[in-house]
Symmetry: C2
Subunit: 422 residues, 2 copies
């Protein structure tokens, strides 16, 4: 465990060197090289006037005894009162690392294995070295150790901790379902993950792509908040986490609750995916050729008044609409209501596409009209795309024109833009 890893540098298929990434000292094999991560934090305490040689000898001896490399020391840490103690400041300088300090209150709040009354009296915290090493949430490797000068009492203490690596949360869209609509980037992120968090049915969809040993934290429907919190908490522990969602994980899905939880102490990577509106559009023809809006009809998340206002806006502004979550067993009047709002501004023959489980084995695609759509044929696995006044059924395909003014227009710069800007 810890900050140890190994990789191979290869050229034309041959191994030329073995690189190890570790803060531990060890005998290198002939073809090995080592990289030192800045992973160690050394907590330091010292009496007033402690000589730099004593502090430095303590630190170096402690690291050597523990089999740890001084090159992996990221910083020295101590209490505010010792911020200008010459022996500590100079030790940091000779090691070439920064010195950071904490208030007695911050340090007193850190549970440590070896508290003591002496520093409590002197600087207001029962531990300096151990607490300063641990205060940022690291793992204690060497407990408090005293210096051993010849012929007088020790004037310095130190403790060594390994800080957790920075966690990484990848929010991964799996696409609409078919394996060949999963992007290579999504696949790579799944392979990279040490911890996978997701809805059980989506986990099943990609379980074969995970590395052996990946920790899978799957949960059932309704546990969205819990999944978001779990993913962020695992990343905070320094794990490489993949949080999965179908389609694009940022669209009505897990990215939003997870990022609402995440602070800047973890890295976040979003992998976009083919969302249901696009998957349905490709099956129907080209309904999204011009402006289009995605609206969820689920009024569990959003007051119906807000949804209705958005549907009315789309109707009045003649925007193509894709409805997500259009209808469920207990929620049956919202879709007819939404369609009737659109029908106030669009002809009965306006094309409507009904796509269920796009790209999955049981996919179904139907092209109908605003007048003819039977809402009873729609369920939660379906997205419904309603054309605008320009949308046409052309040879059984649903097409919304881009408009063709460009044909006459000599401004080729704009043509570039029109396509390249997408």
């Amino acid at each position: 465990g810890g900050a140890t890893g190994a990789g191979e540098v290869t050229g034309s298929g041959e191994v030329t060197a073995r690189i190890r990434l570790t803060d531990r000292t060890f005998g290198l094999a002939p073809e090995e090289a080592v990289l030192r991560p800045p992973s160690l934090i050394v907590g330091v305490g010292a009496s007033k006037g402690a000589p730099v040689d004593e502090v430095l000898a303590l630190i170096e001896g402690t690291l050597a005894d523990a089999g740890l490399s001084p090159r992996s020391v990221a910083r020295l840490a101590t209490v505010d009162a010792k911020a200008e103690e010459p022996g500590i400041v100079e030790a940091a300088g000779r090691l070439g690392v920064p010195l950071v300090t904490y208030s007695p209150e911050q340090l007193a709040a850190v549970p440590v294995p070896n508290p003591s009354d002496a520093p409590l009296t002197a600087v207001g915290t029962p531990s300096v070295a151990e607490a300063a090493a641990l205060v940022e949430g690291a793992q204690l490797l060497v407990p408090k150790t005293k210096s051993a000068p010849e012929g007088r009492p020790a004037m310095a203490t130190c403790a060594v901790a390994r800080r957790a690596p920075r966690g990484r949360l990848a929010v991964v869209g799996l696409g609409p379902g078919a394996r060949d609509l999963l992007t290579p980037r999504a696949k790579d992120e799944l392979r990279r993950a040490a911890v996978l968090v997701g809805l059980d049915q989506y986990v099943d969809q990609i379980r074969d792509l995970l590395r052996p040993g990946t920790v899978v934290l799957e949960s059932g429907l309704g546990a969205e908040e819990e999944r978001a919190r779990t993913a962020v908490a695992e990343a905070r522990k320094g794990q490489a986490v993949a949080l999965i969602g179908s389609g694009d994980a940022g669209v009505y899905a897990m990215a939003s609750p997870a990022l609402a939880e995440a602070s800047d102490d973890i890295d976040v990577v979003g992998v976009p995916g083919v969302t249901a509106a696009l998957a349905a559009g490709a099956l129907l023809g080209a309904p999204l050729g011009h402006d289009h809006v995605s609206i969820s009809l689920s009024d569990l998340h959003t007051p119906w008044e807000v949804i209705e206002r958005r549907v009315r806006a789309a109707a009045e502004a003649d925007i193509v609409v894709t409805f997500y979550n259009p209808r469920s067993r207990g929620r049956d009047w919202q879709l007819p209501k939404a369609l009737s709002l659109l029908a106030e501004h669009r002809a009965p023959r306006t094309p409507v596409g009904v796509v269920r489980n796009a790209s999955r084995a049981d996919e179904s695609v139907r092209l109908t009209t605003l007048a003819a759509l039977d809402p009873a044929t729609v369920d939660m696995m379906t997205v419904v795309t309603v054309g605008n006044t320009a949308t046409r059924d052309i040879a059984g395909r649903m097409v919304t024109p881009r408009g063709y003014r460009w044909q006459q227009d000599p401004d080729t710069k704009e043509h570039a833009a029109a396509e390249a800007g997408r």
Copy 2:
């Protein structure tokens, strides 16, 4: 050429048989099998009372002489006046194929190598056999041949044509640019294409994925209509065509003009891709966590009044907006105007994401606010995402909440829907 192809059936890596798909007769090798496509059309002419044996002998002899298999005959074809001529009807019956007939006007309109006055007088077209074989746009393999009965004049003619295979137009979204955001399905379609049609800069992006020999029809900016027409025309010739676009080819791109041209005589396959709004969203955080609209600010394609109406609608209904084609050299007032419309309903600190060339080498990502955005930093390679009143900058990431009523809600069916419906 023609309807000939070969493939291998393999089991555990071993070749077990070689299957050929062809309408040609030939000696089979020991481990070969053959599949017969229904590719041949036999045009037939006959005098009144022509015996079935004479008609059948003519057809079978003609096919044999040309090295063509009778099992590949899809149908017999003649003029309407011969629809009930017993020799022809029975020949079709014995061959097990349908008989189709055409009006003299339809046949007279087909250019043929061997027109004649006799049928023109008799049935009103200068060719029956050749014209009937060719009327659906097939390729003539055997010109008009007469029967050779012993001791009397010929009473039957025939000609053989091979019909063009049904063309296939794949409209392929390449994603935002990075190779690892190109879906495997898109890659497969590029490999499958015999003809590739696209904007030169997008062709450059994927040229290495094409099979050797793929015909590449690339054109420059401003030739959108021409590309659409070319792609459809190539498919109509029976080709396997891939028409490419960046992002999702159905969003402000080539699918719409191409499908406006296409009729039902070709197959169309759409391959959805990661559109710019999604690629930008993944980089920004989770701005599209709830309802969102894509609006193009290019008023070359659309009157500004329509665009303004749509922006106003998004503003009033509090919908997150992604602007495509937001600004170009000659078009600089539209974005500020659109932002000012949104600002009438949203606070100055509303998060705004500015993403240029998402996933490409020169990608840039900026998170700013409605008040602070400098439109001069935006160009046609950029998409601009404006949050709604609920959107927040959380730890430097742009997040639009889904809302969390589900936490309290016991209706787990709806939870399923909320995520699975995407």
